[in-house]
Symmetry: C2
DNA sequence: TATATTAATCGTAATATTGCAATAAACAAA
DNA sequence: TTTGTTTATTGCAATATTACGATTAATATA
């Protein structure tokens, strides 16, 4: 109960679900938007920009980092985060394959 | 606490998050895979194919239907589900815009 | 060394999601 | 009408996620 039955799904299905979770919360989408558009991507700036508590932003950053979609670089006392281009491209190709499946026409709808 | 603060994010950010939830569970990915590859897409077949309880599949179908990504057609006692092509294309363009943002090169990482 | 500054982690509270048995609803067929 | 077939809904129980205050850790600066 309440536990996702990972074992009954294919690796691809689990990977898509795992990656999709990165985008399944607006705060993480906002963080990624910010990392795309800004050349300075210090954690503290994200806190100011987005308006959630520092602990909350830090937690979201951790999830994105765990998925490999972003990487962080320590700069003195602050940490600069960036999109991990390689993983981002990899993620894109996984979703594109999923999104661009051919739809079989069938008679029911 | 524990409530997503929808109001502090942009419409686009919330829409992406909402749509991403469709793909954030392997059962829903599996259902969509099935709807793509099969010409018969009866709910009962999905239950057999995927191996979750009928109530659980029905619930996942409802979420996909609420997002508009699939549509159902009643055929006697059974219901045939299909990808909603129009909404699927719309969803694709939203994600493509998000995925294909230009990455600003910055000096920190 | 003492004091800021910045980010990660811990602990906790609250909400959300997942899964399923049981039941209801809708319809076909006998 | 009664019975079977199929799907939706209800009502839990359990796990997962979200949020944040407080604290810790690490480093820069006075």
């Amino acid at each position: 109960m309440g536990v996702t039955k990972t074992e009954i799904f294919s690796d691809t299905q689990n990977e898509i679900a795992q990656l999709a979770k990165a985008f399944a919360h607006p705060a993480r989408v906002a963080i990624l938007h910010q990392l795309f558009k800004s050349t300075t991507c210090i954690c503290g700036d994200l806190v100011d920009e987005i308006g959630l508590a520092q602990a909350t932003i830090s937690q979201h950053l951790k999830e994105l980092k765990n998925l490999g979609l972003i990487k962080g670089n320590i700069e003195g006392t602050s940490v600069c985060y960036c999109i991990n281009e390689e993983k981002w491209e990899n993620m894109k190709s996984i979703f594109n394959a999923f999104f661009n499946q051919e739809i079989k026409t069938n008679n029911c709808c």
